[in-house]
């Protein structure tokens, strides 16, 4: 399976990382090197083997469904690149 320039552009778009047009061929070539390495996995017989979901067999703990935290708006916003009137500010989302 070989990745071409268009696929590399599509992946970059999905990952929300801007990649300049002229950098795409090199990126595609790197993907191909890495995916070529990963292809070895096709040699393994995985018939009937369950995909691992948890490396240590354990049940996730449950707790009461109640509010345990909150009322920390200034702390939540303290590191925001842009905040206005107690909210995170971003460029216009809707026209």
């Amino acid at each position: 399976m070989s990745i071409d320039k268009d696929t590399a552009a599509r992946v970059a778009k999905l990952a929300r990382i801007k990649v300049e047009e002229d950098a795409l061929p090199a990126l595609a070539a790197e993907f191909n090197t890495i995916l070529g390495f990963i292809e070895q996995l096709n040699e393994v017989d995985v018939e009937g083997i369950e995909p691992m979901t948890s490396v240590t067999p354990q049940r996730l703990k449950r707790r009461e469904d109640v509010v345990t935290d909150g009322h920390q708006q200034p702390k939540v916003l303290a590191n925001a690149p842009d905040e206005r009137e107690g909210f995170f500010a971003v460029p216009k989302v809707m026209e």
Partner: protein, 495 residues
Amino acid sequence: MSDLNKLGLAEARDLLRKGETSSVELTQSCLTAIDAAGALNAFVHKTPELALERAADADARLKDNDAPAMCGLPIGIKDLFCTKGVDSQAGSRILQGFKPEYESTVSQNLIDSGAVMLGKLNMDEFAMGSSNETSVYGNAVSPWRRGNDDAELTPGGSSGGSASAVAADLCLAATGTDTGGSIRQPAAFTGTVGIKPTYGRCSRWGTVAFASSLDQAGPMTKSVRDAAIMLEAMCGHDAKDSTSADLAVPNFEAMLTGDIKGKKIGIPKEYRMDGMPAEIEELWADGTAMLKAAGAEIVDISLPHTKYALPAYYVIAPAEASSNLARYDGVRYGHRATLEAGDGITEMYEKTRAEGFGPEVQRRVMVGTYVLSAGFYDAYYNRARRVRTLIKKDFEDVFSAGVDAILTPATPSAAFGLGEMTDADPVQMYLNDVFTVTVNLAGLPGISVPTGLDSQGLPLGLQLIGKPWEEGDLLNTAYALETAAGFVAKPGKWW
């Protein structure tokens, strides 16, 4: 007393308890060493005022006989741990200026144990790398050199700053994290001890996430005893991490008897790689002989799926990273790109992430995005998770056949020069983790112990792999190996 920074945790603790030194003196000694070691680029955010304040508190507690296990011991903290009010940027530009409003559980446990943080340590960006060359702060440099050659060497990665700082005696010990070998490989490259505990031993809460099913924190120290002391302080159940194990933490130090008579040590044939340097073969054979002489029974074992661990890792880790790193979007913290008129939110995300992430992080996020994308999820991600099940079963079979621990080389070579791998393709760099990555995939504890020097005078380490939750037994075997190897070499000071 001079050279207090050269002490290990156990020695310094004992001197403190006898009143022969103070935490303030120890801390001052380390701060002086740090200021003189700019060339190593290990400490990237220094916190001297905070350190001296905590040291004074520790001295008061020591005086009142109210001293917890690590009271007054100065340590470094990897930049991956969120530390309240102190820069925590995971070696990345995208977290520039980020000062958390909270403390990670591991660093809080260390505070509760009385440890004194000296500052934050260099690392590969988001812990993605094996040489500390992907950091926004620039390379961390090893204090070790090849004979009289003054070429700068890597301290390993991703916990390169931690390894360099401990090896150069800038601190008594440091925290590291290990997703594919990031504690054990730098420990091996710098003649220090590093243990990655069983997955779930240390809480991951407040530690910047790379690959959540693989990440574990652990100590990087000057001796196995120090590793036992510090691991005990770091780990324990935490309700804030749902994968944290609700198990009692044993007194690891008390388990260091050095008696390994009758223990069964497995030597896996699959770790004898084609083209393995003769020095590594010899180191491994010597280590095997040492454990045998200490009374262990040596058995040949097979871990048949070893070869597939790295390719499986390079599906699973990027997949999880692409998900974990989605949070860096320029909205809630860190860097946001300067936008042009007319740019909308998508441009903000794309420009912010292109500017904020370095090339290796971008590469892994995109590989992860690809293997999780529609049409490839089964072929790559699910297949890798199936192979992971088989890799874990390899270990389970060996342990159920009575093996207590497994001995392997820690790395395929000694430390390489900074910049020497620049022209290699990414896969060449990934091969550094060939002996360590299986342990993360299987969730097991693994420890790297320095046992020898190569022909150029660089340290080499062996890895011991233990059963889940049996860190105490593993540390004891490592202690026996350390005692037999008698590794005492230190880098000559040039910085």
